[in-house]
């Protein structure tokens, strides 16, 4: 306790230093949960302080080493962002120690600035297109190019090891640049990206000698064939995870077998659909240490001997916790998976077109399951089984199969979700597609499960009211936001009036992301949200009947958010101009694939995308995107320097 209490006693008149030190101590305590005097003693000795006031100056800094050591325990980027705002020296120290950099909107800041600010950066995560791009609401060519970032990092940060990109356009050129520039490159994770071909992947495979993770998640790849797999070095690889489930073409079995044989560290393997069931056994034999497995197609005809061998190979996967793939899973093959079930914490059946009751036998064995993705073929019955057997469940996603209107009768209703909310005490994240819903169900769900952090309900019929009472679903969603105090993400659907959004504005104080479609009556709806939801960072709206007034009244709010997307709403061109001129640090993008010949202020725009930025209007807009200029005389500028 020595050094600190001495300081406090001696320098009672020098508040700033005390404050600084106690804040540093606070962070220390926060990180370690208890004041550990041993650690204080292990710090480099503090400079001795005499009583002379002149020695304790306002700008006296802590030794860099002290701060650096403390900051090395501050992991979360949110905390680091706060730390960097305390004072200049803290800013400097923080930026020189940050290893993992996250940029939620690639246009919010310039790559050069980021490269310069974080010299020790080892990992970069970037997100590009708005979320609604997943549903084809953002026209092709909008933007989100990875190249400027790769180029900037390649020139300045050659020690970069990890790059994770989401919804960005990545070219083969980018991949080749990565391979050529970062000699210790370890991790490439591309989620929902596009623009590259298997040639680019081959470049990564062949050149990055220390590659550990290569994951292509739901990317759109120009698939030129399965050769890329043979480009991994012939000597043993350091691969830990490989995910090529989104590729179409066949890879050569021998390439894959040999790769597995020389990748002793491989823990996660996700095959693509063209890997057939008859070869699975041979692959698994070479990688019994797998923790995550994504199979290929699960539907070929196997003879009894093959089935026996495969069953055995599967049962040898003693460490397996996560299972996915399972394309076209045939009911008769479900028993093969039984040996895996007791250990599974994650199961993705969303590509397995298996129906009830075959699913029950599988699910009832998965008592440790934490994450379950299925199609609505699971029906209410299946979800009841989940509620009974999967007490550890944290995340549930139920996707539409399109089968409910098909020849097979699939009965997935709101009751399914109610059962799971009753039976699974740890459930905190839900994505549920359903044809119709009721307020009563929502109220039950909220009562059962106030610990929701993510609640996304998609009532597939737009404007569908509570089908029992014919009322809007306002009261139901009110219950959700009232009771689930920790709600971070919400998607609403069904018939909703402005009242629903008043409730959300009043109660959903921790809500960060909200998605709305076909809802509301007037500008009040948007006003409630923008004035009420304090933590709101991302708001995306489509096909709602309002725009101008609420936007302009709450313009300041938009600078506290990452982005706002509105499409097919009533936002006028004039309002966009006003908004842009009012808020200097927002980019107001008008996205119009079929712009009118003249643009009077009252004309509506197809889509707007508004985001805060310190980088000014971007220079890579295509011809259908206009960034509204800040100066009223100019009106609209289309800066497209390519």
């Amino acid at each position: 306790m020595g050094a600190s209490s001495t300081l406090l006693m001696v320098s009672h008149g020098h508040c700033l230093l005390c404050l600084l030190f106690s804040v540093v101590r606070f962070i220390y305590i926060k990180t370690f949960n208890s004041f550990d005097s041993f650690r204080i003693k292990s710090l480099p000795s503090l400079p001795s302080l005499s009583l002379s006031p002149s020695l304790v100056l306002m700008d006296r800094r802590f030794p860099f080493k002290v701060l650096e050591h403390i900051f090395s325990f501050v992991d979360s980027n949110e905390d680091r962002n706060s730390v960097s705002l305390v004072c200049k020296s803290w800013f400097e120290t923080e930026r020189r120690t940050r290893k993992r950099v996250f940029v939620g909107n690639c246009y919010a800041v310039s790559p050069l600035k980021v490269a310069r600010r974080f010299p020790k950066m080892r990992s970069l995560t970037l997100k590009g297109k708005p979320h609604f791009a997943d549903y084809n609401l953002v026209p092709d060519g909008w933007g989100g190019y990875a190249w400027p970032w790769i180029e900037a990092m390649a020139a300045r940060r050659p020690f970069l090891e990890e790059i994770r990109l989401k919804r960005m356009v990545v070219t083969d050129e980018c991949l080749e640049k990565i391979a050529a520039s970062f000699r210790d490159f370890k991790t490439l994770v591309l989620t929902s990206c596009e623009g590259f071909s298997t040639d680019g992947i081959a470049a990564i495979a062949s050149t990055c000698r220390k590659l550990r993770d290569l994951e292509l998640r739901e990317c759109i790849v120009d698939d030129l064939g399965g050769d890329w797999l043979s480009y991994f070095p012939e000597t043993s690889t350091s691969l830990v995870s490989l995910d090529f489930s989104c590729l179409d073409s066949e890879v050569k079995l021998s390439d894959l077998e040999r790769l597995l044989s020389r990748s002793p560290n491989l823990k996660s393997l996700k095959l693509n659909r063209s890997v057939t069931l008859d070869v699975l056994e041979s692959l698994l034999r070479r990688a019994p240490q797998l923790v995550e497995l994504g199979t290929g197609s699960f539907s070929d005809e196997l003879d009894p001997e093959e089935i026996a061998k495969l069953t055995k190979a599967l049962s040898e996967l003693k460490q397996l916790k996560s299972l996915s793939g399972l394309w076209d899973l045939l009911p008769e093959y479900i028993p093969l998976l039984y040996s895996l079930c007791p250990r599974l914490t994650s199961l993705n059946l969303s590509y397995a077109t298996v129906q009830m009751p075959d699913l029950i036998d599988l699910l009832s064995r998965c008592s440790k399951l934490q994450k379950l993705w299925v199609m609505d073929l699971i029906e209410d019955k299946g979800l009841k089984t989940v509620a009974l057997c999967c007490k550890e469940l944290r995340e549930l996603r139920v996707f539409p199969s399109g089968a409910d209107l098909d020849e097979t009768d699939v009965t997935l209703t709101e009751q399914g979700l109610v059962s799971v909310s009753e039976g699974c005490p740890k459930l905190e994240s839900v994505l549920y597609f359903c044809v119709q819903f009721t307020n009563a169900a929502l109220v039950s769900i909220a009562k059962n499960r106030p610990n929701f952090r993510c609640f996304r309900l998609c009532v597939m019929e737009p404007f569908a009211p509570d089908y029992r009472t014919q009322q809007p679903l306002d009261e139901g969603f009110k219950a959700i936001v009232e009771r689930c105090k920790d709600l971070r993400r919400l998607s609403v659907s069904g018939l909703l009036t402005d009242k629903a959004f008043e409730y959300i504005g009043v109660h959903a104080k921790k809500l960060r992301m909200l998605s709305i479609a076909f809802a509301g009556d007037s500008d009040l709806m948007l006003h409630h949200l923008l004035s009420g939801c304090q933590s709101l960072k991302k708001l995306e709206i489509r096909d709602c009947p309002f725009g101008d007034t609420a936007l302009l009244e709450n313009a300041a709010k938009l600078e506290t958010m990452r982005s706002l997307w509105m499409s097919s709403c009533f936002v006028s061109f004039g309002a966009c101009k006003q908004l842009s001129q009012k808020m200097p640090r927002l980019n107001v993008e008008v996205i119009d694939e079929h712009p009118p010949k003249t643009r009077p202020d009252s004309s509506p725009v197809e889509r707007i995308y508004i985001y805060r930025t310190v980088a000014g209007p971007r220079l890579d807009t295509p011809e259908f995107v206009w960034t509204i200029h800040k100066s009223p005389e100019v009106g609209v500028s289309r800066l497209s320097i390519r």
Partner: protein, 228 residues
């Protein structure tokens, strides 16, 4: 009831075509967006007939929407920009959905039609080629919708008797009357035409509440004659 409902039929009518093309009375902006995003999967509220039936709330909400939404008519957005993204499922998954819907075989010979029943929350689909007569179809439908029928003429007899002309007299007393939409888009009573012809011309089936079916019966025979 028919009178008051008719006033709003125009507004509530959701058509699959481009706005302003046919009736010249564009519905409100949001509804237009919705009507264009509807694909075949979301047919539950698409038919004007269903609107007039058991869902009074649709009428109410569409009227209120008309009142509250501003009169400014957005420039007609092209259909392409709005017939996207609903339900919000990634294209990856859409492919799975699409491939699931393909029946395993014999697509060319199947004759699937959707069957809706007033008041039931789901649509069903039946393959008409699987049945050889109206009786068989009737039994199948009774089984399918047995949980919803509470008719006086319940389960065993089949709630629907297609074959006889005496149907027309009994129509008003029965709870559900089968009607079908033919190739021309007209709604006819089931049972008037020979079975093979029915299978050929039937596009979808609807089990209407008895009271709504008055007025359908006569046209069937006329049409039949005009085709013969």
């Amino acid at each position: 009831m028919m009178g008051t409902v008719e006033l709003n039929l125009r507004e509530t009518e959701l058509c699959l075509g481009l706005p302003g093309g046919e009736t010249g009375a564009p519905v409100t902006g949001t509804k237009r967006g919705f009507s264009e995003t509807v694909d075949l999967k979301l047919n539950l509220n698409n038919e004007p007939e269903i609107n007039e039936g058991s869902k009074p709330h649709d009428v109410v909400t569409s009227v209120s929407k008309e009142k509250s939404s501003s009169p400014k008519d957005p420039a007609k957005p092209p259909a392409k920009a709005q017939v996207v993204g609903w339900p919000p499922v990634r294209s990856y998954r859409k492919n799975v959905m699409g491939s699931y819907q393909k029946p395993s075989g014999g697509t060319e010979t199947a004759a699937f039609v959707k069957v809706s029943m007033d008041g039931a929350p789901y649509l069903r689909k039946v393959d008409l080629k699987m049945y050889k007569s109206y009786d068989e179809l009737s039994n199948a439908l009774s089984n399918m919708f047995s949980s919803f029928t509470m008719g006086k003429y319940g389960g065993e007899e089949g709630m629907i008797d297609f074959m006889n002309e005496r149907n027309m007299a009994l129509v008003t007393t029965w709870d559900y009357v089968p009607s079908y939409e033919d190739k021309d888009g007209d709604w006819m009573l089931v049972g008037d035409v020979p079975w093979p012809m029915f299978v050929d011309t039937c596009k979808r089936l609807r089990l209407m509440k008895g009271s709504d079916a008055i007025g359908l019966a006569p046209r069937a025979m006329e049409k039949c004659k005009s085709r013969a």
